[in-house]
Amino acid sequence: MDITVNILMTIATAATPLLIAAIGELVVERSGVLNLGVEGMMVMGTIGGFGAAYLTGNPWIGLFAGIALGALFSLLFAVMTLSLATNQVATGLSLTILGLGLSGMMGTNFVGLPGERLPNLYIPVLTDIPVIGRLLFGQDPIFYLSIVLVIAVAWFLFRTRTGLTLRSIGDSHTSAHALGIQVIRYRYLAVIFGGACAGLAGAHLSLVYTPQWVENMTAGRGWIALALVVFASWRPLRVLAGAYIFGAVWIGQLHAQAFGIPVPSQFLSSLPYLATIVVLVLISRNKRLTMMNTPASLGQPFVPDR
């Protein structure tokens, strides 16, 4: 029983960064902007989180530093694609390249140092309930934040007027502009929100998942988060489901490696990436589902005519 609980807890820990990064990117894409720089913003979050926590000795400060760095980094993307109308795909790629380089440079002196870990929640009586106690009341604080985030985003996008406006911008920026909506301003806010989420996801990696800093420690999670948004056909609750499936694959292959099953570890390590491809193929075969939900002006630059 204890093993099952432990496995479920590690799956949640593996799924949380994917979930947070993907839910942030979902909001960005719903506003019609394709930010391929998730990996770069996320890796900036890992170094921001680890660095600030190490220097101050306080993981909470690290958490905020990670969020801030991710948001700041996304601002760079926003200025380029929104104010200067550059190609979003190429700009996102350069954000990733720059992020991997900058974080590697900033982190040279942090490699191999012991990190600070965010403590798990502990509520005296509740957490001690067998089995469900730890699952419900004994996880790390960011896990709870991620669940709140999904519900909040789902509510915001589909139950508020501002959310409706945001989605309308994603579907047709010209019509939204003609109605007097400040397209660029909304998109700036969406991109920065996405950056903050990616930064938080990165900070989770270096403050909870493995409290240390290694170069490129995101290991493609930013890209998997991007794939999750497509897989979820831009629906927040489906992102939640998708993130947990991928968390299970990620943990499953780690456990398989630990049990020493007679398959080369490299094959097991490649499973999350192969699973991403399979899932993308399955979802894109369903044309109706993807066509209906894809924000129609996704990735197209917008220059308001005045």
């Binding site: 109308a85 795909v89 350069s94 720059l98 380089g101 040279t108 890209w223 491809i277 993308l280 220059v303």
Partner: protein
């Protein structure tokens, strides 16, 4: 205050020529600021980074070695990007091409003769093309997003290489190091001028590929097809061009070139397979493609510039004691500035004060009357 873009009636030829140079100048300035932050004298640092790596003849050879794979890959990618097809998995095609190309020298190390090398190069190209064919097939058949699939395949290829050199292909006499046998002399790419440096035939391949692709893109129907489908798929359809066929063509051609770059790197600069055979050439080539304006001849120049950033990174590490990750930072900044400057080709940029907007509205209303 805010930025306002005003569409130019025509694309500006002036900025079309100037923008890579402006971008490079801005990168130098930003780099100087970064070095100052790191506590190094910017002038010394920039000299170490950009000038000192190319002051001697053997260093020019090293530059050619770094630039060759970048140019080969970027020339292929430029076809994809012109066709609005986003192959960003060239790193994986590079690795897979290197593995397939190495089959002969690893499994038949005693095989000698003039046919060995051409066979390896051909197999490398086929390997890269087939690996690029996977995302192409998935896009053409199921409409799967090629950006994500081609990128995921990079991780898969790297893990596959890691397994090969640690497992089935490990050199039994290699003291358990994760590497294959050293290629024999007829499986090694010849050096161009062995007297003065290490530069090998790979650089010649890069130049030939650049000229051939330039010819195709500017003088052949196929190049026209690429450009039409890229700028307007609908118009392309009416002209009888097939987008699905173009997806295969662009992916597999760029994959073949990346595979050629991979096997050239392994048989030239390295001489055997190792767990890691590329310092991110496949990703840096994306920057090369854009810096070269997606024009094969521009890409040759851009490849030399980006090759220099690798050498500069090594120099910065050994002379200044800065992490060689500084190379990646320079590369990222360069792409940012290139993309930003490209805006100037199509738009005029105006800074508008917030207070100024009201009189402007009044003036517009006046005009309308």
């Amino acid at each position: 205050m805010r930025l306002e873009l005003v569409k130019r009636p025509q694309r500006s030829m002036l900025f079309s020529m100037l923008s890579p140079f402006i971008a490079f100048a801005l990168t130098i300035i930003a780099g100087a600021i970064m070095f100052a932050f790191l506590g190094v004298n910017p002038a010394t640092a920039l000299f170490t980074y950009f000038i000192s790596p190319i002051t001697e003849v053997w260093q020019i050879h090293e530059l050619a070695i770094k630039a060759a794979p970048l140019i080969l890959i970027a020339v292929g990618l430029s076809i994809c990007y012109r066709a609005n097809i986003w192959n960003i998995g060239a790193e994986g095609q590079f690795v897979f091409g290197a593995i397939i190309g190495s089959i002969v020298p690893v499994l038949y190390p005693e095989l000698q003769g003039p046919f060995v090398l051409p066979m390896m190069l051909l197999m490398g190209m086929v390997g890269g093309a087939l690996y690029a064919g996977i995302p192409a097939f998935l896009k053409a058949r199921f409409g799967t997003n090629e950006i994500l699939t081609s990128l995921m395949l990079v991780y898969v290829a790297q893990l596959f290489l890691d397994w090969m050199v640690r497992g089935p292909w490990r050199d039994p006499k290699g003291f358990n190091f994760p590497q294959t046998v050293q290629f024999n002399s007829s499986a090694v790419l010849p050096e161009l001028m062995p007297m003065s440096g290490r530069a090998n035939l790979g650089f010649v391949f890069a130049l030939i590929a650049a000229v051939l692709v330039w010819f195709m893109m500017s003088r052949m129907l196929k190049g026209f097809e690429v450009r039409v489908l890229g700028s307007s798929p609908r118009a392309g359809r009416f002209a009888g061009f097939s987008l699905n066929r173009m997806v295969f063509f662009a992916f597999m051609l760029s994959g073949a070139l990346a595979g050629l770059a991979g096997i050239s790197e392994v048989s030239g600069a390295i001489g055997q397979l190792q767990p890691s055979i590329s310092p991110g050439y496949g990703f840096t080539a994306i920057i090369v493609a854009f810096l070269g304006r997606l024009n094969p001849l521009g890409i040759v120049a851009a490849g030399l510039v980006l090759g220099l950033t690798y050498l500069g990174g090594e120099a910065a590490q050994s002379v200044l004691g800065i992490s060689d990750k500084v190379a990646r930072v320079f590369q990222g900044m360069l792409l940012f500035f290139v993309l930003g400057c490209d805006t100037l080709i199509h738009y005029r940029i105006r800074l508008v004060g917030l207070g100024a907007s009201k009189p402007q509205v009044a003036a517009k209303l006046e005009e309308a009357r």
